[in-house]
């Protein structure tokens, strides 16, 4: 077939015209989901399972025919554990890619780096990580447990197993500082007393003197919101000094990055924790999810709390899109605010309309044989800390991270 100049112009104009046609009514146009996670660098132990969960959720949705008969397209960026890249990729997601929704962010610092960009460009944003609580912004939905949900359950149980005198060892940045205050509150509420609180920068790896100090304070219980690889040494040195069988230990962080699989059974056994998810949950949903995870090329032993949160958050968003009948910002937010629930491997996640946080199940667990054995499930815990300061129904224009007075 040959084209002369006239035919070429005619066809060309027609094609160009088609391109300029309004996009409404073209069902095959995909919905764009943006993802922004650290899948390399020092936080990749958290980010990689989240990325896998995100891809799994999207392929599940696409295999089921997509959303509103449209396929979902992923725009994923690896921020390489570098906070500066978050701001840059957030601009690309909102301006160049013009995505319909963004899921991502791991550290609180990364969330705060992109939250305002999302808000200004009116891009719906989901943050799917357990964090220190208090963010109040109608554009963000947070699908992870806050201190009140976790500590409120953990402290009374741990105190019942041990006694009233509590010693706190916390990581020295905003998470640890805020967590220590929450622990103090719940210890007092349960008639106990925090005898001392020590803070440790993230690179402290030598806890010998601390262990001696703890012994001279002689508490009944040690609570340790310690973060990262260096702090893992505490649990090791605690066991090595033979203290493990003398004073019980609880943690709000151990196990989220699957640290309990790094500690040996002798070092980890008996440590009390409370989270939303454990790989040991004996539900058919969890078994099916683990099988699905492996079928998609993952390793089920790397599934963590954040991965489950991410998967559930994407399903929550998808349900809202279905109910709204569109992926546009405002109708989807309204659908989410109707108190939407989805069921997942870790039980039900419900959107709390007042705070845009998640109402979720919290499980009391004990580490045994390098596994987080579930002792008790407390269904549908409210994010009470954030609810105390944030009411998006009354103040829809609120845009603050509150430091909650305890």
């Amino acid at each position: 077939m040959t084209f002369n100049r006239r035919q070429f112009l005619a066809t060309g104009t027609a094609l160009a015209g088609a391109g300029l046609m309004p996009r409404i009514g073209r069902a095959a146009d995909p919905i764009k989901l943006g993802s922004i996670l650290d899948t390399s660098g020092i936080f990749d132990a958290y980010g990689k399972p989240m990325d896998h969960a995100m891809r799994l959720a999207v392929s599940d949705l696409n295999d089921g025919g997509g959303l509103l008969d449209r396929q979902i397209e992923i725009r994923a960026y690896d921020t390489q554990s570098d906070m500066a890249l978050y701001a840059q990729y957030a601009q690309q997601l909102t301006r160049r890619d013009q995505v319909d929704v963004v899921h991502g962010g791991i550290l609180s610092a990364s969330r705060e780096a992109i939250r305002q960009t999302m808000r200004r460009s009116n891009t719906l944003y989901f943050y799917n990580v357990m964090y220190e609580g208090g963010v109040c912004d109608r554009n963000i939905f947070i699908n992870g447990v806050t201190p009140a949900q976790q500590v409120e359950v953990l402290i009374p149980y741990a105190m019942k197993q041990s006694g009233k005198k509590v010693y706190v060892l916390a990581a020295d940045y905003n998470y640890g500082q805020i967590m220590a205050r929450w622990i103090d509150k719940f210890v007092r509420d349960n008639g106990g007393e925090v005898v001392a609180t020590d803070f440790f920068p993230l690179d402290v790896a030598d806890f010998g003197s601390t262990i001696a100090k703890i012994q001279s304070a002689a508490p009944d219980l040690v609570v340790a919101p310690l973060v990262g690889g260096a702090h893992l040494s505490f649990f090791r040195q605690w066991a090595a000094s033979g203290m493990k069988d003398r004073i019980p230990l609880a943690s709000t962080t151990l196990g989220v990055g699957n640290e309990h699989k790094v500690l040996t059974a002798e070092e980890g056994d008996g440590i009390m924790v409370a989270y939303n998810y454990s790989q040991e949950i004996e539900s058919p949903e969890n078994k099916a999810f683990k099988a699905k995870w492996e079928a998609a090329g993952g390793n089920a032993s790397e599934i963590n709390e954040f991965a489950i949160s991410t998967y559930a958050a994407i399903m929550t968003w998808a349900e809202a899109v279905r109910q709204a009948g569109t992926a546009a910002h405002d109708p989807v937010v309204e659908a989410l605010e109707s108190g939407l629930s989805v069921d997942g491997p870790s039980g039900m996640f419900t959107v709390d309309p007042q705070t845009h946080h998640a109402i979720a199940d919290v499980r009391l667990m004990e580490i045994r044989d390098q596994k987080m054995q579930v002792l008790e499930t407390l269904p549908q815990r409210q994010p009470m800390d954030t609810q105390a300061v944030c009411d998006l129904g009354a103040n829809p224009d609120d845009n603050t991270q509150y430091e909650i007075d305890i």
Partner: protein
């Protein structure tokens, strides 16, 4: 009384572990004047060598005391042949080259072991002192450090090998004139320095959660200890490790670990202001 004993043991441990993490650097930097910024990574590799060996079923003490130093020493040998030997006498260049090496080793370890925390548990159980429980492994570290210092003193001071090594470091031309090959002596010394770094990393491995970037935690302290120690290898190491270790523990017990680290760094600044050439430039002169 029990608490006093515990604190004294903790101080001994702090001094011993400072000396341990610095001894490899003291040989490579103190003797050979090679600023080895990859020192921390040599330690990290010693840790990984131990963990791999233990996971293969080898006795943990064999892994720590024999396998890890050998493995890291051999890695050091390769590094010396490929990179360092071209840079003797070029202080700043060695810094740049070894910094590159440190990034390379971090990357390599990440590729092989992944960017996750690994570890083994301590092979010695805790022991009771009155009402207190202490980590028995800390005493092991003290013993190893003391033996290491004595061993180093005997090798360097009482054997012909040590004499040749020291002589070569001072006057390579004279050593060469007497029929010794400085190049081979440098090579052997770098091997020993790397092996000592590997040994330190191996011995500390059971106490920490190891990640490929673990080396960064040691490098600053090691340099401070070696520089503050001054020209004498062993006397300098022992004296500066004692000063810093004791100061660190006093403030750690009295206040918090953060203040302990701060006090250590302030002590280092003050010390270098008063004794810019290091402790052994003024005291214990002429000792080893």
């Amino acid at each position: 009384m029990d608490l006093t004993i515990v604190i004294v043991i903790e101080m001994l441990y702090a001094v011993a572990s400072l000396a341990l993490i610095s001894v490899g650097l003291a040989v490579v930097f103190g003797m050979m004047k090679v600023i080895n910024l990859a020192h921390g990574e040599f330690m990290m590799m010693g840790g990984y060598a131990t963990i791999v060996a233990v996971n293969l079923g080898i006795n943990v003490f064999v892994a720590m005391l024999i396998i890890a130093p050998l493995v890291v020493g051999l890695i050091g040998l390769v590094v010396e042949r490929l990179v360092i030997r071209h840079l003797y006498g070029r202080l700043v260049d060695t810094m740049l080259a070894t910094w590159g090496l440190s990034l390379f080793f971090i990357g390599l370890a990440t590729i092989i072991f992944g960017n996750t925390t690994t570890g083994i548990s301590t092979p010695i159980s805790g022991l009771a002192i009155g009402n207190y429980q202490i980590n028995g492994y800390n005493l092991f570290i003290v013993v190893v450090s003391v033996l290491l210092m004595i061993g180093l003193y005997l090798v360097l001071g009482r054997t012909r090998l040590g004499l040749i090594a020291r002589g070569t470091m001072q006057r390579p031309d004279m050593a060469s004139g007497l029929g010794y090959s400085p190049e081979r002596i440098y090579m052997a010394t770098f091997f020993c320095g790397s092996a000592l770094s590997g040994l330190a990393g191996a011995i500390l491995a059971p106490l920490v959660g190891l990640v490929p970037t673990s080396g960064g935690a040691y490098i600053a302290k090691a340099f401070i200890t070696v520089i503050a120690g001054g020209p004498s290898l062993i006397a300098g190491l022992v004296s500066s490790a004692s000063v810093f270790g004791v100061i660190d523990r006093i403030f750690t017990f009295a206040m918090s670990p953060v203040i302990g680290e701060v006090a250590l760094l302030i002590a280092a600044v003050v010390l270098l202001r008063l004794l810019p050439q290091g402790i052994t430039a003024r005291f214990f002169r002429g000792r080893m």
